[in-house]
Amino acid sequence: MTTATPTVGVGAQATEPTTRGARVRKRLNSRTATLVSIVIAVLWTIPTFGLFISSIRPENEIKTTGWWTFFSNPQITLENYQEVLFSRGSSGQLASYFINSLAITIPSVLFPLAFASLAAYALAWMNFKGRDWVYIGIFALQIVPLQMALVPLLRFFSTGVTVAGVQIMPAWDLVDEQKFAQVWFAHTCFALPFAVFLLHNFISQLPGDLMEAARVDGATHPKIFRTIVLPLITPALAAFGIFQFLWVWNDLLVALIFAGGGDETAPMTVRLAELAGTRGNEWQRLTAGAFVSIVVPLVVFLSLQRFFVRGLLAGSVKG
């Protein structure tokens, strides 16, 4: 300690002049740093901002002038929203699709949540033969792109299962809004590998003493699961719930294939993609429509960001 003191003193004296230079450089550095980060932040925000401003401008204005002229000539209308949400036929009717999105999303979040937490509990705290292999199998399924499953799964719904000429399962033959069931089914299947993996990460880290104590008290597995595990893993459930919610609400591919394109079942993403393709210049509808579809996930996301980030880190960094 005593031998170290002089060297520190010398060091401080010697670096005295350079620190001032360093301080100036540091301030400059932090100024460029601030500038660069502001530029990135603006670049990332402007497109969404422009869309929002446009969605509240009158149709004629949107189509003839840029949205940045709004500030010199502010005209506000809600007509675009009115039109895209409620008018019948090809021009919008987005309210109907909004309900479809809700009807698709809620069960598609609940089912994998329940099934995966049951499975994750069994894989973490029950002893049975081949447990590790089952877990590795489910884990490995994460890498199968869902494209691999689309054609046969659609055939499973439309023609049922036939083995060697014998009909084992009939076709589902769903019409109109019944097709929601197909979408729920597909989303649940595709979500399970990741859900089991994420929840297993959390459940397996619960203290073993707790389980042991409950077992000694004579609690059965279902009871431990309900009364001890579920309350403890609520943050993980929330994390996965938000994940799955955003994924399903924003999904286009699965809905396109399993829900069809009609207003009975198709969610908003399908409708918007269709509008963007067939009416690419109807910006008053596209901007308002896009904003309607963005609002719900944005609210969910902002209010539950904490859980989402935690889930993201647990899912990607650990695994």
Binding site: A122, F128, A149, T188
Partner: protein
Amino acid sequence: MEFDFAAEQPKFLMLMYGLIAFVAVVGGLLLLLDVVPSFFARRREAQLVAASASGAPLPRRRKQGEGAFAFFFLLPTLLLLAIGLVVPAIRTTLLSFMDSGSNDWVGLDNYRWMFAEDSIVRVLINTLIWVLLVPLVATGFGLIYAVLVDKARFEAVAKSLIFLPMAISFVGASIIWKFVYAYRGEGDQIGLLNQIVVSLGGEPKQWLLDSPLNTFLLIVIMVWIQAGFAMVVLSAAIKAIPADIVEAARLDGTTPWQMFWRITMPSIRPALIVVVVTLSIATLKVFDIVRTATNGNYDTNVIATEMYNQAFRYQENGQGSALAVFLFILVIPIVIYQIRNLRKQREG
């Protein structure tokens, strides 16, 4: 208002059926698992009481296996995975060796077609451009931003600004950016990009029709969405760097530049790899952006959109399946790399 609320009622009814099914299945399963064992427990108790009353030797307790319990806990998941993923994936692999109607075996024809057809080769090249660019650029932006705003005054707000696009659907993001790229022949421009070009004295153009530039413009959309993901994960990794290392480096008088390359980068290497791998896999499967922005026209197609077109628009099941299998094959080396990396990390 012409909106007919009554017409929407069947949907709510269906949603209710779905929720009832959920409660029935999950509740039923838990109830089943609760009631059955407690029934056996009670019977055993009664046996014990009877045995002790009659003075007979206590019946030996059978070793209780948990296999039956575990089976029921795992049943829904395993069943759904088998029906929804495992069997379909195997069938898709088989279909990729069959013709468009899945009637006859055609060997490797579908794969040969993939590399012989000019338009499909173009699709493969596009996908390659996507996979090379998106992970690098998105991670780059995410990393720069994470370093710059680390410990800044408005860190939380600054981070959510970049993170926000993650909540927006790919479809919504594509519309947002299509609006940025919008073009008008005469009069004022309404798209921001063309406006900038015009104000710099250039000629406005139809950006999305211009190959190969349009592919890069679509890549911008993906980068815009995914940079937030990279930023969050990397930011967490940066914060996890032990404070004493940073402090020691600072005492040694390292410049921020040296600090970044010698301290930050080596410390967050594992997180960087995870981000790049995750983004690569996500980029390989990109579908929504291309479909919404250009519908795969003007030479912007990628594997996932072409797979959709072949299988579901042209009813070419064989060729569609071959593309799906190829996508899977492309993912495998990335995953193996990540697993090996993780193992190395764990061994220290």
